[in-house]
Symmetry: C2
Subunit: 276 residues, 2 copies
């Protein structure tokens, strides 16, 4: 059975203009694990706030996540032909449609927030600021820049952290900040670091799974090694990386014990991340 | 001498993170005619509002205009190698940097508004909504979709109007709406139609100049004919198009006489458009 957020996404798509870009948006959005939205919902639940209050913001974040995958998969970027268990968007549609659809998903993320009936104007501006800051040059796009400029010879632990903390951490910082803004909390440093910690674990696990799992299990091309990209496994052995991840999980668990929300739901989600 | 808006853009760029994407943003922003910002300033002046009040919003619009040119010039799109009087961004930098820089310009447009010290939250949300609506699937991106799907055999006057009204008209609708929101005016239909009329003339003149001016005079590749794109000149002779533009100028002049702002400054700007 579809959960409510999937129904909400479906409803959103059904209300978009009937055209090829909407078809492409639907194709690209299908099959996502919605992990970043679930971070939002888990924190909200720990604040005793209904997850549905987070749907508009979670959709905006999922639209941005999806655009970044589309543009990242393009021939001039990672040139990945397989994503979310099926051909990448530029293979299923054409490359020009993939560029336009990525642009539209990014543009629409901000429209969704601006038209939300759930948040007041101040909250909308805060969410839009977090999205544009950490999905941009203070987050994901900066991480992408470092990533396309990196190679296994130039990598070191500090640079690897900086890539991960921006490229992957950027959207998790947004996922942490959204409940904070919705709840009118203001401990920004705490939530930004929380997002950073989750992103770090997520990316290290992704690098680990790239090595030990198959393309079919992961649902995407595992191109980083082919593309001569620096990953955690450029620096660490498999065993070292597993130990690093274990340490990171322990640190995050303790960090969450100092949260102002009930961390039990987020901890449950993170266990699923570990076991995925 | 640089005018104040150019100094403001320069100052904005100087405050960006020092990295390759900022270099690329600077390169791409240089040499623009700032016509859409000047529409904003002319309307504001007619409302007796200092043009500097419009700088944040005008910058956001110029960032979106510039991103659209970068992505539009990519090999998978129009494949144009020449723009704003110099090599296109993907020729001067690499294609992956061009994709990322376009994404960053679009993302930053929304950040500029969210961080503005000039507008209140309600105005910010209104401006962001206009940007995301008319630069997206209800404007520019929809026009791009129609454009990449069009060819001279399928074109007719209605479709040509729809392409122009979305692709070019989209950003001019935003330029018209921004002063309306800043001035807390609410005659939205009037301003949307105003943007549509300006966009129509602008695009028809662009098609005309593509035929009668050189690449050097226009500062960009004139690729529409090479790319088998439908333009006004697919449907009309040179003389017919000149007559259409004259009629459109007359209609716009009368339309402006019914504005709630003093239209003299916008009329002055439009005369420059005619004589460029």
């Amino acid at each position: 059975m579809m959960n409510n957020f999937e129904l909400y996404i479906e409803n959103y798509l059904n209300n978009q203009r009937d055209c090829l870009i909407t078809d492409a948006m639907r194709y690209a959005l299908e099959g996502g694990k919605r992990f970043r939205p679930r971070v939002i919902f888990s924190i909200l639940k720990g604040m005793n706030i209904d997850e549905a209050i987070g749907y508009d913001a979670a959709l905006a974040l999922e639209l941005i996540q999806t655009y970044s995958l589309i543009h990242d998969d393009l021939p001039a970027m990672d040139n990945d032909d397989f994503r979310r268990g099926k051909p990448s968007l530029h293979k299923a549609f054409k490359e020009d449609i993939a560029i336009l659809t990525g642009d539209q998903l990014l543009t629409n993320a901000f429209r969704v927030i601006s038209e939300s009936k759930v948040y007041n104007s101040d909250t909308k501006v805060n969410i839009i600021n977090a999205l544009s800051k950490y999905a941009g040059i203070d987050g994901m796009i900066y991480g992408q820049l470092l990533d396309v400029s990196s190679n296994p010879d130039s990598i070191n632990p500090d640079l690897l952290f900086e890539i991960q903390d921006n490229k992957t951490g950027g959207l998790f910082k947004i996922a942490s900040l959204i409940p904070m803004y919705i709840n009118n909390d203001n401990n920004e440093d705490y939530y930004v670091k929380l997002g950073s910690l989750i992103g770090q674990i997520f990316q290290n696990q992704d690098d680990l799974f790239d090595l030990i799992k198959s393309k079919e299990e992961m649902g995407k091309d595992l191109s980083d090694l082919d593309n001569n990209k620096a990953t955690a496994l450029t620096l660490y052995s498999l065993e070292e990386l597993k130990n690093i991840i274990d340490e990171e999980f322990k640190y995050l668990d303790e960090y969450l014990n100092n949260s102002s929300f009930n961390p039990v739901y987020l901890k449950e989600l993170l266990i699923k991340l570990k076991e995925r």
